[in-house]
């Protein structure tokens, strides 16, 4: 299942248009765990919502949602674009593909003012570490000997993750499932989940609802309404509960009827591979490190045209 990504993105696709997929609503039998992660996050965005997204996996999920089940969702990026329909991977937060069909091109201050005003429904962020209350760290790994000033690993920093968790209606966290990442004690709190438990967000007067879902390459987690603690909602196909427990440092609560995460459809997988034909984000292959300039440019341009054509055909 993993590592068998077809870079041409033709998992059943025919004639160049990713919408021409045989049995598009059937479960895909060929998908990677990274693709499952992206699809699961995309499904958290409801049609018509304002979705605040960053670069990488969160943006690819937002773009996928817009091209599949949520065509009327509006993507918001912190660099100033609203309403874009990027016809491919967004490499950086001011990537000019965000100009395609954008309704608003403004500045970062305005976007975060609107965010703090409570105007955005759902945000998607990434993180390096998370604790049971959904607080995240994307700033430093201090290790046993280190400190904020002298960390073992310097991570990129908050970006917009702090602001999204503080003020967005609800927040989806996407990250890798590792025992050192699902930690009993964060090295640094970059973005506020439920802080130290029930009532803490209310004390600070945060406009947003906080973390709602955590999606990893192994499982999906929610948060208990009373205790605000994370619990296991579903495991991905082929992963059992014990395997997930081993990758969590605290005693993980498990839903009474823990489910299996629904697998991607054939349409979703075909669309993802059309959005990211060079495997820049999904990274199931090393293609992005091997492709030459001319082939990269030609591939990107061909797929942009495919996706832009879908809109023109409507």
């Amino acid at each position: 299942m993993t590592g068998e990504t077809d870079p041409e993105g033709d998992s059943g696709a025919t004639n160049g248009s990713p919408l021409d997929v045989a049995n598009p609503d059937e479960p895909a039998d060929d998908y990677s765990l990274t693709e499952l992660l992206a699809v699961t996050a995309a499904r958290e965005i409801d049609d018509g919502e304002m979705a605040f997204i960053g670069v990488g996996m969160s943006l690819i999920s937002g773009v996928l949602a817009k091209y599949t089940h949520a065509p009327r969702c509006q993507l918001v990026t912190e660099s100033g674009y609203v309403g874009s329909r990027p016809p491919g991977v967004v490499q950086s937060i001011s990537d000019s593909v965000l100009g395609v069909d954008s309704l608003v091109a403004t500045d970062q201050m305005q976007i975060f003012v609107d965010n703090q005003r409570g105007l955005f429904d759902v945000g998607i962020i990434g993180a390096g570490q998370i604790d049971k209350y959904g607080n995240t760290n994307s700033t430093v790994v201090t290790g046993a000997e280190g400190s904020y000033e002298n960390p073992k690993v310097r991570l990129p920093g908050s970006g917009g993750s702090n602001d999204i968790m503080t003020s967005c209606g609800r927040t989806i966290v996407m990250m890798r499932q590792r025992a050192r990442a699902f930690t009993s004690e964060l090295d640094y709190v970059t973005a506020p989940g439920y802080l130290d438990g029930p009532g803490a967000r209310e004390e600070f007067g945060f406009p947003g609802g906080g973390p709602e879902t955590v999606i990893t390459d192994m499982a999906v987690f929610g948060f208990d309404e009373e205790t605000k603690e994370m619990y296991l909602r579903s495991t991905h196909p082929g992963i059992d509960v014990e395997e997930v427990r081993e990758m969590v440092q605290w005693d993980l609560n498990v839903d009474d009827d823990v489910e299996t995460t629904p697998v991607p459809t054939r349409r979703e997988v075909a669309m993802l591979r059309t959005i990211d034909p060079t495997d820049t984000v999904l990274r199931d292959t090393d293609r992005i490190y091997e492709i030459g300039f001319d082939e990269w440019a030609d591939t990107m341009e061909r797929n942009w045209k495919r996706l832009m054509q879908i809109e023109e055909d409507k």
């Binding site: 950086s92 000019s96 965000l98 975060f112 920093g157 001319d294």
Partner: protein, 302 residues
């Protein structure tokens, strides 16, 4: 600074006149419309002791850190791209190579607000962001205060940033510094107002009549600008909206070669050259292809 004299300079002169060793600097753009050529010129002139006061930074910051130009960073995010970490930043913070880099974190909204406060000429502005987290805890400049009007609500006071220099790359400007920005603005309109001195680099210098035809695009006015430099492809390897797409294979190579400090020195030797020579090395065909790609997605918007 309301004069409307001809402020055009060469890139070399603009940097040597306005960026002394030890200066604090804010750069424009954000993974798109970044003033990469200006940053390479700062490295070429071997500036030292710089304090970068900024928002989210990619390759230009990582390269300046690796070249030993920067002592301190205040901002929200550092890396290089989707496909590479900021290896030079990590080496400097974790190992002190080539020298220690002091980091002071804010959130992205925090970075906008510090320039807004600077542009307003007030000591701070309040926000709900960063409350309850280690950003406010570890950043000594951020204070948590109670609403002075008595609501009891806590607020994070974000201090004003007033960098010595702002360096912003735009699509077009006139000789007096009226700058048209197409697409998103990020924090650039605030940075030029917060800074003491502003250098505008642009794809093209245009007559003031062209500016006056679309004054709503003038996000940066002449009275905030001290120097104007025409630098075609001044954001390469990043995007310049309406002009050219990002050169991912180029910054992919940067990411790979910056993993090792010695290899990065070779990268510096190869690419830290006068801008005209840099463009020749990238190659006219490749640059033209990047222009074509941008036309495919945003053709006709400029």
């Amino acid at each position: 600074m309301s004069d409307t004299h001809d402020k055009t300079q060469t890139l070399q002169t603009a940097i040597s006149d306005h960026v002394p060793d030890g200066a604090s600097i804010a750069f424009g753009g954000m993974g798109g419309r970044d003033p990469e050529a200006a940053a390479r010129e700062i490295i070429r002139q071997e500036k030292t002791g710089l304090r970068v006061v900024d928002d989210a930074r990619t390759t230009l910051f990582d390269a300046m850190v690796g070249a030993g130009c920067v002592d301190e960073y205040v901002g929200s995010w550092v890396g290089t791209s989707l496909i590479s970490q900021g290896h030079n930043v990590r080496r400097a913070v974790e190992e002190g190579v080539p020298k220690d880099l002091t980091m002071q974190d804010v959130s992205n909204f925090g970075s906008s607000l510090m320039f807004f406060a600077g542009a307003m000429n007030v000591p701070f502005v309040p926000t709900r962001s960063m409350l309850g987290t280690d950003i406010a805890e570890h950043n000594d400049d951020i204070e948590v205060i109670d609403d002075p009007f008595g609501s009891g609500e806590p607020l994070a006071a974000v201090p004003a940033a007033t960098p010595d220099v702002a360096i912003i790359h735009v699509q077009q400007a006139d000789r007096h510094g009226n700058a048209h920005i197409y697409g998103n603005t990020v924090n650039d309109h605030l940075k030029v107002r917060a800074a003491d001195t502003t250098i505008i680099t642009c794809e093209e210098i245009v007559p003031s009549e062209t500016i006056a035809e679309s004054p709503e695009l003038t996000k940066i006015p002449f009275y905030t600008v001290d120097s104007v430099v025409e630098v075609p492809f001044g954001s390469h390897p990043w995007h310049c909206y309406g002009h050219y797409y990002a050169d991912l294979p180029f910054y992919r190579e940067y990411g790979l070669r910056s993993q090792d400090y010695d290899e990065f020195q070779d990268w510096l030797d190869e690419w830290i050259v006068p801008h005209e020579e840099y463009l020749e090395k990238v190659g006219a065909d490749r640059l033209a292809r990047l222009e074509e790609l941008e036309q495919t997605i945003n053709g006709g918007k400029i």
